[in-house]
């Protein structure tokens, strides 16, 4: 590749990627998804199974067939859909946590750690303060979790602002730190380890009043809790903050061009801190949904096994860092994870062992294709710019763009 030297106005890699990702409609992500499923189908075919039957089984497993009232086992579909939506809520929030940073030109790889801090805070708040009224307890626990996530993410923002430390590195390191904090707190002999189970590295259970209400399904058997509404509401707030608030406006300005933002009087460092903290709010809230919604306690192995924060990166990428896109991408990933769970796949249709791998294959393909899509968009713009059509690459310092042809 050649590098334009004298005046590179395109900014850091994150900014450039952001420019390509934050624009464009739903078409590219849709194509991306279809291609991913198509390639996944070829994989199924290679194992000697029928892709269509397999996808039908996976679709039924997601419970989305519940929306088609004429189809099969209603009760089973309902249970499946509940699980899909339980997955989806935290995925939306973690996706937002990544997307918001992205819009400010930051890579938040730390949603997992922020999520973990959220779960720790939620389990602490949920298992303490037993006397509180239920609704207040739930709200407080969620707030504490969100703030814990915000504080955790804010560290990365503050390091970026004060020392210029790359947030990719710091957030990854904070992921590990969060994991080990959890292991310490809930490990045998740890300060927050369960009082009544001395042999088990797990927290106390949260009290009944701190549980999120289950509105669909059996509340003792992981029915659907109201967290999904919290997540969708958060997506709405995400949109408003980003597009309608001064905070979001400044974050976007910084994301596109830190020097211009600085020159306009926006505190760039401060924006980094605030932006990361907002990301952490979302991820921390995601943690509270899992704890208050169905998990009710936190074992050390739960912390290390959780992937939701990392999946959030893929969700944000596929969702193009928009509120609505993130919601749909989260639903896709949540459904995929549920649909390929073994209990929903007859071994005669597709081998359960492979089904889980299929999920990973499809997820991986989506991320890969989204990245490839960015690459294509970039190449295309470059070509178009050369063709005199006003693009990203060929601007400085006196752009010869189509827009200026008519004086």
């Amino acid at each position: 590749m050649t590098a334009p030297t004298p005046s590179d106005h395109r900014g850091p890699a994150a900014t450039r990627l952001l420019r390509h990702l934050s624009v464009g409609g739903a078409v590219a992500p849709l194509i991306t998804t279809i291609v991913a499923f198509f390639v996944g189908g070829l994989v199924v075919l290679a194992t000697g199974k029928d892709p269509l039957t397999t996808y039908k089984a996976i679709f039924d497993g997601t419970g989305l067939n519940w929306l088609l009232p004429w189809s099969g086992d209603r009760a089973l579909a309902a249970t499946n859909l509940q699980q899909t939506l339980i997955n989806t809520g935290p995925l939306i929030l973690c996706g937002l946590a990544v997307a918001y940073a992205f819009r400010a030109g930051l890579f938040n790889i730390g949603a997992q750690g922020q999520y973990t801090m959220g779960t720790i805070a939620a389990v602490y708040a949920g298992s303490s303060w037993a006397g509180l009224p239920g609704w207040l307890h739930v709200v407080l626990a969620m707030a504490v979790a969100a703030l814990a996530g915000a504080a955790w993410a804010g560290i990365a923002g503050a390091l970026r602002a004060s020392t210029g430390a790359n947030e990719v590195i710091t957030t990854i390191m904070l992921n590990y730190t969060a994991l080990w904090i959890g292991v310490y707190l809930f490990g045998l002999g740890g300060p927050l380890q369960a009082n009544d189970q001395p042999d088990v590295p797990v927290s106390n259970d949260i009290v009944g009043g701190a549980k999120l209400p289950v509105f669909w399904g059996d509340k003792d058997l992981q029915g659907l809790h109201v967290g999904i509404f919290v997540a969708v509401l958060a997506a709405g707030i995400f949109w408003v903050v980003l597009n309608r608030s001064r905070l979001g406006y400044e974050a976007r300005a910084v994301g596109f061009s830190p020097p211009a933002a600085r020159s306009a009087g926006i505190g760039v460092g401060r924006t980094y801190v605030v932006t990361m903290a907002i990301c952490g709010l979302f991820a921390g809230l995601a943690g509270s949904l899992d704890i208050l919604g169905w998990q009710f306690h936190l074992a050390t192995n739960d912390i290390s096994a959780s992937q939701v924060g990392f999946l959030g990166i893929a969700v944000a990428l596929l969702g193009r860092n928009t509120a609505i896109g993130t919601c749909f991408a989260a639903l896709l990933f949540g459904a995929l994870s549920q649909g390929t769970s073994v209990r929903n796949l007859d071994p005669a249709v597709f081998q359960p062992e492979l089904a889980q791998n299929l999920t990973t294959v499809i997820q991986g393909l989506v991320v890969l294709l989204v990245s490839a899509d960015v690459l294509l968009a970039s190449v295309w713009r470059r070509r178009r710019a050369r063709a005199g059509g006003g693009g990203a690459a060929a601007a400085p310092p006196t752009p010869t763009t189509l827009g200026s042809v008519s004086p």
Binding site: T79, Q83, I86, N87, L179, V183, G187, L188, Q197, D199, V200, P201, D218, D220, L221, Q222, W294, Q295, H297, A299, T300, N301, D302, I303, S304, A305, S306, Q307, S337, S341, V342, R343, P347, A348, Q351, P352, E353, Q356, T359
Partner: protein, 339 residues
């Protein structure tokens, strides 16, 4: 053959055969269907069937029951801890006669689901039934005295180490949870009994799946002078054994007999989960389910032990057999908590 190495023997590649075994269960496959045709479901923990130890063994027990007892089996693997409750309750809903949960990690989900489906029989491996919330009467806990197998492995390791001028041996645990610590406690006690001067190292990877984490930990221990690495971390632990191999050290397998991994496997501390699963299914088929209690498998009942001893260790076989006899006789008491 020694006393302890008997049992299921060196069942070489149990993992590779285990996968299709779960699927190919039809009545025709059962050459000699001896009993009532019951439906048995098995739910693995997040380690998955490829852990080559714990879940794989449970699956083997189910497969054995399918072919020998003519039962109908189904395995549900769990991808995340969010799968436990739906997996268990799906099987209960579909009127399985027996639902077996594999692993300590599932205790909580088991408690909830068992309470919801009092008519279904549940068994859970590695969990004390009395520790379940509400102590549901339809659950049988299947426990193992892992420390006894660990003791034998540690004893052997220390003998070998002493003769080969090694000062240190080590263990890699997945997490500090009872079934893991039982092994390690026994291992350390056995080692000290064989050579009071030996140094033991121990660490936890906080993971049962990701092999790189255990490998890293083991490499660290080897760097500190460990000559023999005992893995107690399921699939993750395979990485620890790999580390031992790549550094020319010895490894000790866990749960299943992992001698097939190569000559660097001194022995394995085994826990015959397959036997426990098979026995429990047989019991239920015969109508004799011991609900609301625990069944403990130990050296005496051949539920734990050590696997094939490599050529390097055969000269200590007699000493090990003697120790095993003492444990069975109760003259040696093996601790089950790590100090």
């Amino acid at each position: 053959m020694s006393l302890v190495a008997a049992g299921c023997g060196s069942s070489g590649n149990s993992s590779s055969t285990s996968t299709p075994a779960a699927a190919g269960s039809t009545s025709t496959a059962a050459a000699a269907p001896t009993g009532k045709k019951i439906k048995v479901g098995l739910v693995t923990d997040i380690g998955g069937l490829n852990d080559r130890s714990f879940n794989a063994l449970a699956n083997k027990g189910l497969g054995d029951a399918e072919s020998q007892l003519g039962i109908d089996g189904r395995v549900l693997t769990s991808k995340s801890n969010a799968d436990y409750v739906p997996n268990l309750s799906t099987l209960a809903q579909q009127k399985y006669d027996l639902v077996i949960g594999v692993g300590f990690l599932m205790a909580d989900a088991m408690g909830k689901v068992a309470k919801k489906y009092p008519g279904t029989k549940f068994a859970i491996i590695d969990v004390d039934q009395t520790s379940l919330k509400g102590k549901p009467a339809n659950v049988e806990g299947l426990l193992f005295k892992e420390e006894e197998g660990g003791y034998l492995a540690g004893y052997l390791a220390a003998l070998y180490a002493k003769d080969h001028k090694m000062t240190t041996i080590s263990s890699v645990g997945g997490q500090k949870i009872p079934p893991v610590d039982h092994y390690i406690a026994g291992y350390q006690a056995g080692a000290k009994a064989a050579d009071p001067g030996i140094k033991t190292l121990n660490g936890y990877s906080q993971d049962f799946v990701d092999q790189s984490k255990c490998k890293e930990l083991a490499l660290g221990q080897i760097g500190q002078g460990s000559g023999i690495v005992f893995q107690v971390a399921g699939q993750c632990g395979l990485g620890a054994l790999d580390a031992a191999k790549s550094k020319g050290k010895l490894g000790i397998g866990v749960d299943a007999d992992q001698a097939y991994l190569g000559s660097h496997i001194l022995t394995s501390a085994t826990k015959k989960v397959d036997v426990a699963v098979f026995d429990t299914i047989k019991e239920v088929q015969a109508g004799g389910f011991k609900a609301g209690t625990n069944t403990t498998f130990d050296l005496k009942t051949n539920g734990v032990g050590i696997g094939k001893v490599s050529a390097a260790g055969t000269k200590y076989q007699a000493q090990i057999d003697k120790v095993a006899k003492d444990i069975v006789a109760g003259t040696i008491t093996v601790p089950d908590t790590v100090k």
